[in-house]
């Protein structure tokens, strides 16, 4: 009788421990996944930087400008060799009452070389009005991740 009680208690305890061991398996898998991600990030950022959050807020306004055979560039941002977990950009460009001839214009550009962004939020707004342009190019609110 005593042996039967002992066996019953052992079986009951084993039944309690079974879900716990089942829960431990995903935990180990999660730790392994995190370790792999960390190793990957470390390899990527051997020479670069690790940035948790990067907010870029760019606002360009051009009014009453007469350009002839010239280039105009405003709000340029070069971020190289970085891992960014959360990239949040807000770009706003306004061009009005401007006359350009054979001109190129670049407003609000974010250029990332050898960079990675896990989460990216991009908010772009461009307005052009009352403008006379001949053979001109306008690039407003550009983001390049290579």
């Amino acid at each position: 009788m005593k042996t039967l009680k002992l066996l019953t208690a052992t079986a009951f305890a084993a039944g309690l421990l079974l879900p716990l061991s089942a829960h431990a398996a995903p935990q180990n898998a999660k730790q392994f996944k995190n370790a792999m991600q960390n190793a990957s990030q470390a390899r990527l950022n051997r020479n670069g930087s690790n940035i948790l959050r990067f907010d870029a807020d760019q606002n360009a306004t051009m009014t009453e400008v007469a350009a002839l055979n010239s280039s105009i560039r405003a709000n340029g941002l070069h971020v190289d060799d970085s891992l960014i977990s959360n990239l949040d950009t807000d770009q706003d460009a306004t061009v009005r009452q401007t006359a350009m001839t054979n001109s190129s214009m670049v407003l609000n550009s974010v250029d990332m070389t050898r960079a990675r962004s896990v989460t990216t939020e991009i908010d772009q707004d461009a307005t052009v009005r009352k403008m006379s342009a001949v053979n001109s190019s306008i690039a407003a609110n550009t983001i390049s991740i290579r």
């Binding site: 020479n47 670069g48 930087s49 940035i51 948790l52 959050r53 990067f54 907010d55 870029a56 807020d57 760019q58 606002n59 360009a60 306004t61 051009m62 009014t63 009453e64 400008v65 007469a66 350009a67 002839l68 055979n69 010239s70 280039s71 105009i72 560039r73 405003a74 709000n75 340029g76 941002l77 070069h78 971020v79 190289d80 060799d81 970085s82 960014i84 401007t98 006359a99 001839t101 407003l107």
Partner: protein, 136 residues
Amino acid sequence: MKRADMPTPIRTFWFVPLALATLILPGFGHAQSARFTLIDARNGLTPEVKQAYAEAIGTDASSAMVKNRIKIIASPRHGADFDAIDLPAHVRHVDLDISLILQAGPPSSEPINLNHLRLARRAPNRVSQKTTIQGR
């Protein structure tokens, strides 16, 4: 001093100086934000002008936050082609407001390059750029 021991006007109108401080102190903060650096580039981009532009942006900043307001006067004849600026590695927050005022004259044939930052391997957490180009 207990509240009951205070003179009646102070006990009754204690909120008046508090309200005045609440209204006036933010005004001081706003007044400070009106300070800016004026750069005269009407005679072209001399080395002195380029150095003044770089220092105004914050190449020699000692704090982690750079907040600068810059106004540049340029002529269409010379343009305003400034080089990209490398900020110190310890800068974590950049807030730049650059205004370019082009003098009246012939149409510009020189390039304009403003508010251009190069952040290699050490990007700040937050960058705020505002550029206004206005002709006459």
